[in-house]
Amino acid sequence: MSHLVLAADSGNVLVWVVWFAAAAACVGSGVAVVSFSNPFYSALALIGNLASLAVLYLLLSAEFVAAAQVLVYAGAVMVMFLFVIAYLGGRADAPWAGGPNVNRVAAVAAALAILVETLVAIGLKAGDSLSHAASISGSFGSPAEIGRLFLTDHLLAFEITSVVLLIAAVGGVVLGAQARRLQAEEAEEALDPIARVPAEPVREESPVEVPAAR
């Protein structure tokens, strides 16, 4: 009997250790995202944040969401981010550059207010209703269960999500095509010196300005 209790306790301690490591990584990398001056490092810190969040999801027995998080977020979305940052070059701005001004102080106060409010709201409920987690079956959070929910109870959300993704893809193509057309026009103007306007007015103005200078 005591053997069984010991085994249960050691399992509990293991979960606590994993939780603590993942939560510390989450919080640390979250602070790193905000405080790195180079966007490239911020994006890398966000990848670490997403990976440690996936561990927390696993502890909450949300297996499918954890897998989707790693594949979709830490994989696809962050690769897109890194490509754009590499394309634009690392234009760094230090978060503390320019010293404290009214906006900065107000921003820090607002963020602290959000933190305190949410922590107080959680703390008020901490003892009773938040500590009795429902008992769940083994299939909770599995791909089969998520798929069943998506195709039965939440079909509308599923369809709306697909429309949103389609619209985002079209929007990305439209924005990219417009930017490319603009760049092509600029390149054309640069190649064609006759089409440039400022050549003549400069010649007209110069005789007027020279006597004035004397």
Partner: protein
């Protein structure tokens, strides 16, 4: 439920959300503002999944997956806008982008 209560997960989510909000408010590079926005969305996802576990209801996980899809769409459009701004040789500083004219 083995390990920490849902309360602890919600505390982590609250801290992450506040960090992301701070980043959105004080950073000026639009890329880092987008990254901080992702941080806030993920904090909400963590809270949703924690509540889903608390009530033993899968709807929270469905909601989290929808939030993920919306976040991916937002990143596509946001990065498209940032690249378009860079190609127009505008400064990538959210404090200096005050005009909506094209």
């Amino acid at each position: 439920m083995k390990g920490p209560d849902v309360t602890w997960y919600l505390g982590v989510a609250a801290f992450m959300f506040a960090t992301g909000a701070l980043g959105v408010l004080i950073r000026r590079s639009p890329l880092i503002v987008l990254l901080s926005l992702e941080l806030m969305l993920n904090a909400c996802n963590l809270a949703l999944i924690a509540f889903s576990r608390l009530h033993g209801d899968g709807a929270g996980q469905i909601f989290a997956l929808s939030v993920m899809a919306v976040a991916a769409s937002e990143v596509v459009v946001g990065l498209g806008l940032i690249v378009a701004m860079a190609r127009r040789h505008l400064t990538l500083d959210v404090d200096k982008l005050t005009s909506l004219r094209g």
